[in-house]
């Protein structure tokens, strides 16, 4: 996160100070793969100026106790998420397709394990 107001350090050449500064570092979502062959899992988010720094911060914030062996950082604004309003038409159709589950079919006992 950067400072909320424009910089007091006008002498630096880093950025123009006569314009309103971006107020915060961008938000990154952090995904970590644990040790046991699972996929990456969302663990939280953090602010960082760029992806490299997000990676370093993610290491410090989310893997202080060997929680993972691989980290993905993704800028939050790049993620497209489904909306709760779409829940109905996205997921309800699965309700009447119970035959997609193996337990729908009765297999006679004498056939054995299947």
């Amino acid at each position: 996160m950067s400072s909320p107001e424009s910089s007091a350090y006008k002498a630096t050449e880093a950025a123009p100070h006569d314009v309103v500064r971006r107020t915060e570092w961008p938000l990154y979502e952090i995904f970590i793969r644990g040790q046991h062959g699972l996929s990456h899992r969302h663990v939280g988010s953090l602010h960082a100026p760029d992806a490299e720094r997000a990676m370093q911060n993610a290491r410090d914030v989310y893997t202080r106790r060997k929680e993972g062996v691989s980290i993905w950082v993704v800028e939050a604004s790049k993620i497209t998420a489904s909306s709760p309003d779409d829940k109905g038409h996205m997921y309800d159709p699965a309700d009447d397709k119970v035959y997609r589950h193996p337990t729908f079919f009765d297999i006679p006992e004498e056939v054995g394990t299947m």
């Binding site: 996160m1 950067s2 400072s3 909320p4 910089s7 007091a8 350090y9 630096t12 880093a14 950025a15 500064r21 971006r22 107020t23 915060e24 570092w25 938000l27 663990v43 939280g44 988010s45 953090l46 602010h47 100026p49 760029d50 720094r53 410090d60 914030v61 202080r64 106790r65 998420a81 909306s83 709760p84």
Partner: protein, 330 residues
């Protein structure tokens, strides 16, 4: 607790019949043990109360680094120093998990930081007390983190998904904090006469401020009733305080230390200890910003923020420059 005296709507709990269909569906989902996620509809009061509560909790973790940071350079051994560093780093992490959770509700990190630095948002009263001896590091871990755990464990089941998930992570780490504190207390309490005296002195000073962490009795509070209906508060303040005393009193016995309360006595009938209330006038004074270290804590946070500004800006400028160079090369 780490979030004290959080106000909700102030209107009291409404029955399902009084709610419009949207709010009713929301409340029924919570009643059924469902989770509310960031993009779900939620009542304004729920959102605002949670921002206040999670924000205050996050600020407490961040300001809570200061009393312990005080001893990093003076820890008695290299091992104790490394452990204390790890613990303080955890507290920073806890603050970050919680800020993230609060941000999913639509408040920015900068806004929360500004509100902490200006004194508009509060942090727990406990961090306005000084840590004047090494034994205080023991008392803080044992009592302060112990009291925090009482509240945080049930909050793992809170209705707001991101908050609950942050709590799961925090609880995993918090147990280390309490145990390292108790370990320091054991060492001191079984040490030389002077070490034992220091341990007792730390207990004397931190006992009542620890009891205050739970906040005054809220049996009659409409704010608490609403928060409990929303499942963003899981137990009453008195319940948690009782539980804390019941667990802690035998631990003090084990250490051979005396809890500074002559009314502390096992009550067979209620199956818990009777104990004295802390001085609530003192609590309200501390909340108002008149605690022994209130000014110092806020000054320290403000100085850290101001002096870190050039670093934050330089890193952003560097990132911009690299991005521009990369674009130019493409």
């Amino acid at each position: 607790m780490y979030a004290q005296m959080v106000k909700s709507t102030g209107e009291g709990v409404r029955s399902l019949d009084e709610m419009d269909p949207q709010e009713r569906a929301f409340q029924e989902r919570i009643d059924a043990g469902g989770k509310i996620e960031p993009k779900d509809w939620m009542p304004d009061g729920y959102r605002k109360t949670l921002i206040r509560q999670i924000g205050q909790h996050a600020h407490s973790e961040i300001v809570g680094q200061l009393p312990e940071g005080n001893w990093i350079t003076r820890a008695p051994t290299l091992e104790r120093k490394a452990i204390l560093l790890a613990k303080v780093q955890d507290e920073a992490g806890h603050g970050l998990y919680l800020y993230c959770a609060a941000e999913t509700l639509g408040v920015t990190r900068d806004q929360m930081t500004r509100d902490l630095l200006s004194g508009k948002m509060k942090y727990s009263s406990i961090f306005n007390y000084p840590t004047i001896t090494w034994a205080d590091m023991g008392a803080v871990g044992w009592l302060v983190d112990g009291a925090a755990i009482m509240n945080q464990v049930p909050l793992q089941r809170t209705s707001y998904g991101p908050y609950a998930r942050a709590m799961v992570r925090i609880c995993k780490e918090e147990s280390f904090h309490q145990r390292q504190g108790f370990d320091i207390m054991m060492k001191m309490a079984k040490g030389t006469a002077e070490q034992k005296r220091m341990a007792q002195d730390a207990l004397n000073r931190f006992w009542y401020p620890s009891l205050m962490m739970f906040g005054p009795s809220d049996a009659e509070s409409i704010h608490s009733a609403q928060s409990m209906a929303w499942k963003i508060k899981m137990n009453s303040n008195d319940e948690l305080r009782q539980k804390f005393v019941d667990l802690t009193a035998p631990q003090a016995d084990y250490l051979g230390l005396t809890i500074p309360d002559e009314n502390l006595k096992w009550n067979e009938e209620k199956g818990g200890y009777d104990f004295s209330e802390p001085d609530w006038d003192e609590f309200f004074e501390v909340l108002k910003g008149n605690g022994p270290c209130s000014v110092e804590r806020l000054e320290d946070r403000n100085r850290a923020w101001d002096e870190g500004r050039w670093v934050r800006e330089a890193m952003l400028a560097h990132a911009d420059k690299k991005r521009a160079a990369k674009l130019a090369a493409e």
